[in-house]
């Protein structure tokens, strides 16, 4: 048995450039993997709803799957679907602009998608107040209520994700284009959080980069794209956009299920 109580003392934390590079790749990869896994989770959630839909449809217990072929308000359904689809397309377009370096274009697209998401949620809630059936009147009615709740949760999630990405982008812009001690405090905050909360040594580099920049050159946000934080930011935006694409696909499938077939 190793007859020691401590292999070595706890020492100060620091990292080498190689370790920073490793952490950066891991952080970027985590956004990639996490974004896809998040979609996988939502896929199974929506698959459960789809299973319920087809199971009750095929069972048609008491001939109560969809008596009278009643349908949820079609106009509002079209509107929700259109808004989600348009918002997703805009988000995807924004990301292509971001890849080319047009940050402002992406920010505008992002805000538009956020507004679209909020509008879709509002429409979905409004639709629930306009239903021509009682929730428990049929299998279709039950499934529709279930879908409406899931749709609100899904769109709310995507909207929140996009909003936080845009807000972070704007905040980083204000940090880097401004001057004075406030920026130093925020930069230092970034550095501290990266050290203490485990939010990634990547932040460490950008904090220092931001601080150095604000002190010396006053470079603008365009420079951010090459920083580690910029890479992580783009990975986050990429995952978020991917999720918006997923929402569009999911909305399409359930729109067909509830309004067309």
């Amino acid at each position: 048995m190793t007859d020691i109580t401590s292999a070595r003392p706890v020492t100060d934390f620091s990292d080498t450039p190689e370790e920073r590079e490793f952490e950066l790749r891991a952080a970027v990869g985590s956004y990639w993997t996490g974004g896809r896994l998040f979609i996988g989770m939502f896929t199974f959630l929506l698959a459960s709803e789809a299973f319920a839909y087809f199971y009750l449809r095929s069972s048609n217990n008491g001939q109560l799957w969809r008596p009278g072929n009643v349908t949820a308000p079609t106009g509002i359904g079209w509107a929700i679907y259109s808004v989600v689809l348009a918002s997703a397309v805009i988000a995807i377009f924004g990301q292509t602009r971001l890849r080319k370096g047009y940050v402002l274009d992406w920010e505008v697209a992002g805000w538009t998608a956020v507004l679209g998401g909020l509008l879709a949620i509002g429409l979905q809630i409004w639709q629930l107040t306009e239903l021509p059936f009682f929730p428990g009147s049929s299998g279709y009615a039950s499934c529709f209520i279930g879908w409406a709740v899931m749709n609100i949760v899904m769109i709310l999630g995507g909207t929140y994700w996009m909003e936080t990405a845009v807000a972070r982008s704007l905040r980083m812009r204000s940090i880097t284009t401004g001057d004075g001690p406030d920026q130093l405090v925020v930069a230092r905050s970034l550095r501290m959080q990266s050290i203490t909360t485990g939010d990634g040594p990547d932040q460490l580099v950008v904090a220092r980069s931001l601080r150095m920049r604000s002190i010396t050159t006053g470079d603008g946000p365009d420079q951010l794209s090459s920083t580690p934080s910029g890479q992580i930011f783009r990975a986050n935006v990429s995952a978020c956009t991917y999720f918006w694409g997923f929402m569009a696909v999911g909305s399409t499938l359930f729109w067909v299920m509830f309004y067309l077939i």
């Binding site: 109580t5 993997t33 905040r171 909360t197």
Partner: protein, 666 residues
């Protein structure tokens, strides 16, 4: 000053004067009772519950059917939902999500060695792991007390301690709590604590998601506890409709509690899965990943993909009770079988969510105490992935007796029997490792060996149960009950305790008392078998589950089972006594590597630094080359003195003092 020199100065840790980051990110994360902690979480939960309940009453007050029913499910649901939200808000879980809306960064957290960190929302995976240890043990012991109540009632076939309604409520609460606990019993404590260390990472990928998983898990525990004051629920842990739709307020606690636990499971699986994929240290190839990590990765796949179905089913159930939908009401176009399908699509993978981590622990322990390499490592990893994959294709065997199309039975019988093949792989890996080994019978090894004994019985009876004729014969009997207790308690819980005895010295820096550990093991092992083996016979003789009366001729077997259960319960008191004595009352510092393990988690400092490794290790070999004198070192730890300071290989593996470090392979 050069940039590189400045960089070194810049990143020195810790910075003594952290900046303020504004009011919006909540109370300061500094240690101290003015910040957010368990106390504020409790206050938030109580206030949230009261507000939600009041709102629910306001919303439903105009509906006569609610007023006449005597149960306002909307108020119950509102109370639980806002109570859980208040709990999370009180602990500080939503500070950052709110701050993020205006683009702010997370508030800084300060490393502290104070015990108060265990009562806070923290990004340190080791603290979260220890929080989970206490959390799951609380869960386990609460549900264990309910088990004692069940066995007390079954001491006599006709004299009753409880009425039938109370009895079924206790049975349901016991089963649900145990299942909830078991889903996280390894992933939560040991997974969170160990995985980053085992793969050479300084952190997890999403530390706040990890912390969220624990606090939502604990909210689920509190939620399911509320079922009892609400009158309990009569469905058992499976929650079958139509009983579900007819049940009272306790059913909401069941549905909401399971959904909250499900969210926690998804969060934990998400974070650990992403961490394993992305944060493996350089050189930690898939063929060098510890087998426990493979087990957790397989489990994470199930947690993230199967659990959403449970959450969806819970949502549908809650909608049936609140919005008056009819998902599970056959008379209104729904189907009670829909619940069964959704529940078991989650529920059977859940069995492997519980089994796989146990296999991982055992496979990790065996090489250390046999001083042999893990036999057929790749087969074990493949077996775990195979089990995870196949587990999605067997759920309908739970419906053999519930109206499934008879033509479908052979298919699901086949898939169920197929899953015994990769399970058998894992079992044989253990046997191969034990073959001709000089075993060190330390306490963790005793538990590991018991897992093989118990799981063999549980597994073989499982193969019987997968066959339709046997299934039809013993369905709903104590035979089934005994089978799954042998697999879950005999497999997972024994493995969990083996893992605790194995890794607690690393986690706490203290040595558990060996004598008390042995007493705990032998009492637990012997009386576990005396408790549950008679149940096979009881079941074959026709005693059904969840019924509080039984035939007179079964009393002897039931009494053997009950008395053994009481002693089994008492054996856990020995563990608690050992834990309290060894960790708090008379702590004995643990050696850095008490078992001479080659695992990477044992190679860092003790106590483990906040960032785990001073240098990110470069992995050179897998950690199972025991007794191989020419084996390369496990890792380059980045310190010249300790470059080759992998754990000495004890009596079979060369140097034991660390004076002659092994040079890493080029």
């Amino acid at each position: 000053m050069t940039i590189s020199a400045e960089r070194e100065r810049e990143v020195a840790y810790p910075d003594p004067t952290p900046p303020s980051v504004g009011w919006f990110q909540g109370l300061p994360a500094r240690p101290g009772w003015l910040s957010q902690h368990l106390g504020t979480a409790i206050i938030g939960a109580v206030l949230g519950y009261l507000l939600g309940h009041w709102l629910g009453n306001v919303v439903a007050s105009g509906y006569t059917n609610v007023a006449n029913s005597g149960v306002n499910a909307i108020a119950n649901t509102g109370g639980i939902a806002l109570g859980a939200l208040g709990w999370l808000a009180g602990i500080g879980a939503i500070n950052y999500p709110l701050a993020k809306i205006i683009g702010k960064e997370p508030a800084p957290e300060f490393e502290t060695t104070s015990w108060s960190r265990y009562f806070r929302y923290t990004a340190d995976h080791k603290v979260v792991g220890m929080q989970y240890v206490i959390g799951v043990l609380t869960f386990l012991f609460t549900a264990g007390l309910l088990a004692m109540a069940i066995r007390t009632e079954l001491l006599s076939p006709s004299s009753h301690v409880f009425g039938p309604g109370t009895y079924i409520s206790i049975v349901s609460e016991h089963g649900t709590m145990m299942m909830m606990m078991a889903t996280s019993v390894v992933v939560g404590p040991l997974g969170n604590w160990l995985i980053p260390l085992m793969i050479g990472a300084r952190r997890t990928a999403f530390p706040r998601v990890e912390a969220f998983s624990f606090w939502i898990f604990s909210a689920g525990y509190l939620t399911i506890l509320t079922a009892l004051p609400y009158g309990g629920f009569p469905t058992g842990w499976t929650g079958y409709a139509p009983l579900q739709t007819q049940a009272g307020g306790g059913m909401i606690s069941y549905l909401a509690g399971f959904a909250l636990i499900g969210l926690g499971m998804m969060a934990a699986g998400f974070n650990l899965g992403v961490t394993i994929i992305n944060y493996r240290a350089p050189g930690m190839t898939w063929s060098r990943v510890p087998i426990f990590v493979w087990a957790i990765l397989s489990t994470c796949a199930l947690l993230t993909l199967a659990t959403p179905t449970l959450v969806a089913a819970g949502l549908f159930g809650i909608l049936d009770h609140t919005a008056q939908t009819a998902f599970f009401v056959t008379e209104h176009g729904g189907s009670s079988y829909l619940w069964q399908n959704l529940f078991w699509f989650f529920g059977h993978p859940e069995v492997y969510i519980m089994a796989l981590p146990g296999f991982g622990i055992v496979a990790e322990i065996l090489p250390v105490f046999t001083r042999k390499p893990l036999f057929a490592y790749k087969v074990a990893a493949a077996g775990m992935l195979g089990v995870a994959l196949l587990s999605f294709f067997v759920w309908q065997h739970h419906l053999f007796q519930s109206g499934i199309n008879p033509d479908m039975r052979p298919l699901f019988m086949l898939t169920t029997e197929l899953i015994s093949i990769p399970t058998g792989f894992i079992f044989l890996v253990g046997m191969g490792t034990l073959y001709k080994a000089k075993i060190r019978f330390e306490v963790p090894m005793l538990f590991a060996l018991a897992v093989f004994f118990n799981f063999l019985i549980g597994g073989v009876t499982g193969v019987f149960l997968s066959d339709v004729p046997v299934n039809v014969t013993v369905h709903g009997s104590f035979f089934v009950l005994s089978h799954f207790h042998y697999t879950i308690m005999g497999g997972l819980i024994f493995a969990f305790f083996g893992g605790l005895y194995f890794w607690l010295p690393k986690m706490t820096g203290k040595t558990m008392n060996k004598k008390l550990g042995q007493i705990h093991f032998w009492f637990m092992f012997i009386f576990f078998n005396f408790t549950f083996f008679p149940m096979f016979l009881i079941g074959l003789l026709g005693q059904p589950r969840r019924v509080f009366e039984y035939a007179q001729n079964l009393q002897t077997l039931n009494d053997i089972s009950s008395i053994s259960a009481f002693i089994l319960g008492a054996s856990f008191l020995v563990f608690i006594a050992n834990f309290v004595w060894s960790i708090f009352i008379k702590p004995t510092p643990s050696p850095a590597n008490p078992w001479d393990s080659l695992g990477l988690e044992w190679q860092t400092a003790n106590p483990v630094p906040y960032y785990n490794f001073e240098r990110i290790p470069v992995v050179l070999n897998d950690p199972y080359h025991y007794s191989e004198h020419d084996a390369a070192a496990v890792a380059d730890m980045g310190d010249p003195v300790l470059v080759g300071a992998v754990a000495p290989t004890g009596d079979g593996g060369g140097d034991t003092t660390g004076d002659d470090p092994v040079t890493p392979a080029e």
